[in-house]
């Protein structure tokens, strides 16, 4: 009975139509993505997985989900100088980007203390209450995570440019334009592709405070 069933399976497999090249390409595409995920999981780096289809940005380490952020909007930007594009927005998906760093930097303010000379009774030290993380690391309205190789993520909460009065908004727009124009016109290798990620203020602040140094990034490409 068992052998008959096996023979039937073999016959069925033999008569099944051959896969199309599209099917094979899709399978190969999935495997390629899995391989990249596995490579990241095997490395000793923290990494972000940005999945535009799932509207999620996940902070991961060794295949473990550490934090998940909801992405409310995503745009792809390329630098242009006088209407002429300086780079092509291609080849940024499905690629692993390394050494992500925050700009502005979240600097760790280390306090150095020299202990009092030792005595048998000891010295009563004054209790110093340190700042909370919110006080210690103020989060700018918009910030970047820049990766080696030219990709950068610009994170900002929705409606960032619409806050404040007329002059304040004008100043914000002008300073944003100036920063963008400088980055676009610099001709360097940074910010050749910019992903504009919109997420809630809470998530944007949390990501800024939590992001470990040298974080990698994988942008999950949409399935073909």
């Amino acid at each position: 009975m068992k052998s008959m069933l096996l023979a039937a399976c073999v016959m069925l497999a033999a008569t099944a139509p051959a896969p199309t090249s599209d099917e094979l390409a899709r399978l190969s595409f999935k495997n390629d993505l899995l391989k990249k995920r596995l490579d990241l999981a095997n490395s000793k780096e923290f990494y972000l997985v940005l999945d535009p289809a799932e509207q999620s940005l996940e902070l991961m380490y060794r295949a473990a989900l550490l934090q998940a952020y909801r992405v409310e909007g995503l745009e792809v930007g390329v630098p242009q100088v006088m209407y002429k594009s300086r780079a092509e927005a291609s080849d940024w998906e499905g690629k692993v980007w390394k050494k992500g760093a925050l700009d502005p930097v979240r600097a760790l303010d280390r306090v150095e203390v020299v202990a009092p000379p030792p005595t048998k009774e000891g010295t009563e030290l004054p209790v110093q209450v340190p700042q909370t993380p919110e006080e210690k690391y103020p989060v700018p309205a918009r910030y970047h995570i820049r990766f080696e190789g030219g990709l950068s993520i610009e994170v900002r909460p929705p409606g960032t440019d619409e806050k404040g009065g007329f002059w304040s908004r004008l100043m914000t727009r002008w300073s944003t334009w100036w920063a963008d124009a400088k980055a676009a016109g610099s001709g360097g290798k940074s910010d050749t592709v910019r992903l504009h990620v919109v997420m809630s203020k809470k998530d944007a602040e949390s990501l800024y405070r939590a992001l470990p140094p040298n974080t990698a990034l994988l942008v999950v490409p949409p399935s073909p």
Binding site: L66, V76, P79, E93, V113, T119, G122, A181, L195, A210
Partner: protein, 247 residues
């Protein structure tokens, strides 16, 4: 237009009665119009150039084109390749699943002082904790130095102790300006670590605290401190072997 003013009031002066003309130039309206026009044109050009300089954004693509793929020579070769790709897919998925934690694991966000009890990628409990202060302590002779950081990475709960007794390390005495005892028994202190201690690696622990008012702030010497209720919940959820991810 000319206006005359007497040069001197002195009637005896031989130059009496001589007048000097002061000429006020008529405003050149045309020049003003030119200046305003050029200024406006410069602003317009700057705005046009400005708009075309910076970043041009477009929506992220929602559907990708199929990557180039070499078509197999015949149906049999295609089937063989499909089998190979399916096997590879199974192997990769299994390897990834093996690495990813299943069941309960702990996640510590050391910058924001939060501990998450996770279960299969779902947050079960969020607790306020305290992680390493990042402080550098030097002894009075500047011979030794300690950095109070909580290490990043993945650890495991190696041991669990209720009513733990703390064996004070050297820095605990140095910090208080006390002489480091030679007798090891003088290092033991009970009550400081709270009701439970979960030992990770290299002397790092998750434990309780006497200073609950400092929870949420980075104050520790590298360990992770929790309040009594959260410590109880973590104790109940995390047996020996539970992975602890610190970032």
């Amino acid at each position: 237009m000319m206006e005359g003013y007497p040069l001197s009031e002195d009637e005896s002066s031989p130059r009496r009665g001589r007048r000097v003309a002061i000429i006020f130039p008529a405003p050149k309206r045309r020049r003003g119009i030119w200046v305003v026009g050029v200024l406006l044109a410069a602003i317009a050009v700057a705005m046009i150039v400005g708009r075309g300089t910076g970043y041009a954004y477009s929506s992220a693509p929602v559907r990708a084109a199929l990557p180039p793929f070499d078509e197999p020579a015949n149906g049999a070769a295609a089937k063989k390749l499909q089998q190979k790709l399916l096997a590879q897919n199974k192997q990769l998925s299994a390897a990834l699943a093996k690495l990813s934690p299943s069941g309960t694991y702990l996640v510590v966000d050391q910058t924001q002082n939060r501990l998450f009890v996770m279960n299969d990628d779902q947050v079960v409990r969020t607790s306020v904790c305290s992680a390493g202060s990042g402080m550098i302590l030097k002894d009075s002779g500047n011979k030794k130095k300690w950095v109070f950081d909580t290490p990043r990475g993945v650890f495991k709960v190696r041991n669990r102790i209720s009513n733990p007794i703390w064996k004070k390390p050297d820095w605990a005495f140095v910090e208080e300006g006390k002489t480091i005892p030679k007798n090891p028994e003088e290092r033991f202190e009970s009550g400081t670590l709270g009701k439970y201690a979960l030992y990770l690696e290299d002397g790092y622990m998750i434990h309780g605290t006497l200073y609950t008012r400092l929870l949420g702030r980075s104050v520790t010497h590298g360990c992770i401190r929790l309040g009594p209720d959260d410590l109880q919940a973590v104790w109940d959820a995390a047996p020996i072997g539970t992975p602890v991810y610190i970032f």
